[in-house]
């Protein structure tokens, strides 16, 4: 089990559908959080969900992840339908980095391996190559308090990757960062995801971020949350963040998204 593998590999599943939501409704007592959400996500597709605060986008992510079971409708991840099975197939990256302050950066990133019973030393050795690959070399033994906000978020992302799951659910991953750090992190994440394609569901309230990082953006309405607009994006990989954000296609899409959000 030692560190022979340089990268966490994910068992290949035949292409096509990774996640399928059918007629998903979610109520919390009187509060209606989600209404009739239907969504099909292909394997290694990146989907963004934008909407105003409280529109139920985080609820949607929790439901996909298997942390909650929707009041009505079905959510399938590959062949997994029950809550526990979905939980085993997704890795969630929360808005706050949630690094454990008493663990070093590498021990935080390796926690999913330890959770699966890998010995601590082996878990560390298997995580180490990622630190070099993603610009965190020499920071392995730092505690979270010694890292900058952007670095903590990178460690949190590596921790999500090390869960070795095909589906990454990102819940406003950069919302807590300042805008300059956030731009850098978006570029970093885009590169990381091109190197290591995963099925990604990105929840954000930042339209730019969703358009930039994903291939399809679902715009949700204020509560009760429903999908009001879908936008196809996919910008060529060889263009920089700045080139994309300032291009006319981007502006057109952004206008459409803002219109759907009634902003």
């Amino acid at each position: 089990m030692a560190g022979a593998r340089a990268w966490p590999t994910v068992t290949a599943v035949t292409p096509t559908t990774a996640i399928e939501l059918r007629a998903v409704h979610q109520r919390f007592g009187e509060v209606v959080a989600l209404v009739d959400v239907n969504l099909t996500i292909d394997r290694h597709e990146r989907v963004g969900i934008v909407g105003p605060s409280g529109c139920g986008k985080s609820t949607l992510l929790s439901a996909i992840a298997g942390l909650i079971q929707p009041t009505e409708g079905t959510i399938a991840i590959e062949d997994a339908i029950t809550r526990d099975e979905r939980l085993r197939r997704c890795a969630l990256m929360p808005q706050r980095d949630l690094l454990l302050p008493w663990r070093t950066a590498i021990d935080n990133a390796a926690i999913a391996l330890e959770n699966r019973g890998v010995r601590r030393r082996d878990a560390r050795e298997r995580t180490r190559p990622l630190f070099e690959r993603f610009g965190l070399a020499r920071f392995e033994e730092r505690t979270p308090a010694e890292l900058s906000g952007g670095m903590r978020q990178r460690v949190a992302f590596l921790r999500t990757l090390m869960a070795e799951k095909d589906i990454l659910l990102l819940d406003e991953p950069f919302a807590a960062l300042d805008s300059i750090t956030r731009s850098g992190m978006q570029e970093w994440l885009l590169t990381a995801l091109h190197q290591e394609p995963r099925t990604v569901v990105l929840v954000t309230h930042d339209v730019d971020e969703a358009l930039l990082l994903t291939q399809r953006v679902m715009v949700m309405s204020a509560r009760p949350g429903r999908v009001v607009r879908t936008l196809e994006t996919d910008f060529p990989r060889d263009r920089s963040r700045r080139e994309i954000v300032t291009s006319s296609e981007f502006t057109t899409l952004k206008e459409a998204a803002l219109e759907a959000l009634e902003l």
Binding site: L92, L98, L100, R116, R159
Partner: protein, 206 residues
């Protein structure tokens, strides 16, 4: 403490030589020592002047003399008391931790036992002490039992509060990273609860 003192001992007047070691010690321990000496002196003098019988209020000189004469006895009994305290404290921490964990892991146990535990705190230890003496005799054990009982509660409360005040977002995060109930406990809940468990232990110790 020493850091604070040395900061104060080197004022921003750069020319002034740093005070010598002896002087620092005098600065630090001189004032309290002086107060102690003065207190004893006043005590002694007041008793002399008012001519208070020594069996009502003994002067420090007589106390010192008595301690000296009975030194062997005193040391022996202090040793026994210390022993009783340490054994009782050890039992309290062990039992408190175990009980706290039980209540944390079993909702049923928490619901049924926690209110009773809190209610039991209204029973004064003084009332229970004679019962312990009757049941356990006059030796070491009734005293150990009293100490244990006294220290048990803060440890349990510290453990339970510490374990249950962990941010639920950490638990959600761990759940999506394949953690079992035990894994969450070992890697998140217990380390996060340690400061509060230690606080409980410290309260128990004092």
């Amino acid at each position: 403490m020493s850091k604070v003192m040395s900061d104060q001992a080197t004022p921003d007047v750069a020319q002034e030589r740093p005070p010598s070691n002896a002087r620092r010690i005098l600065q630090r321990f001189g004032p309290p020592a002086l107060v102690v000496v003065l207190t004893f002196a006043v005590w002694e003098i007041v008793i002399k002047i008012l001519d208070v019988p020594t069996y009502i209020w003994a002067p420090p000189s007589l106390i010192a003399q008595t301690i000296q004469e009975n030194f062997g006895d005193l040391i022996g009994h202090t040793g026994i008391t210390l022993m009783e305290t340490l054994v009782g404290f050890f039992f309290a921490v062990a039992a408190g931790l175990a009980f706290g964990l039980l209540l944390h892991f079993s909702t049923w146990a928490k619901r049924s036992l926690y209110p009773l535990l809190i209610a039991s705190q209204s029973i004064p230890t003084v009332v229970l002490a004679p019962v312990f003496v009757l049941v356990l005799g006059f030796g070491l054990w009734p005293k150990v039992a009293v100490v244990t009982l006294f220290c048990f509660f803060p440890v349990v409360v510290g453990t339970i509060d510490g374990l249950s005040s962990v941010d639920s977002e950490y638990i959600r995060m761990m759940l999506t990273l394949d953690a079992t109930r035990m894994g969450i406990f070992r890697r998140v809940e217990f380390p996060a609860a340690l400061p509060q468990i230690f606080t409980g232990t410290r309260v128990a110790a004092t």
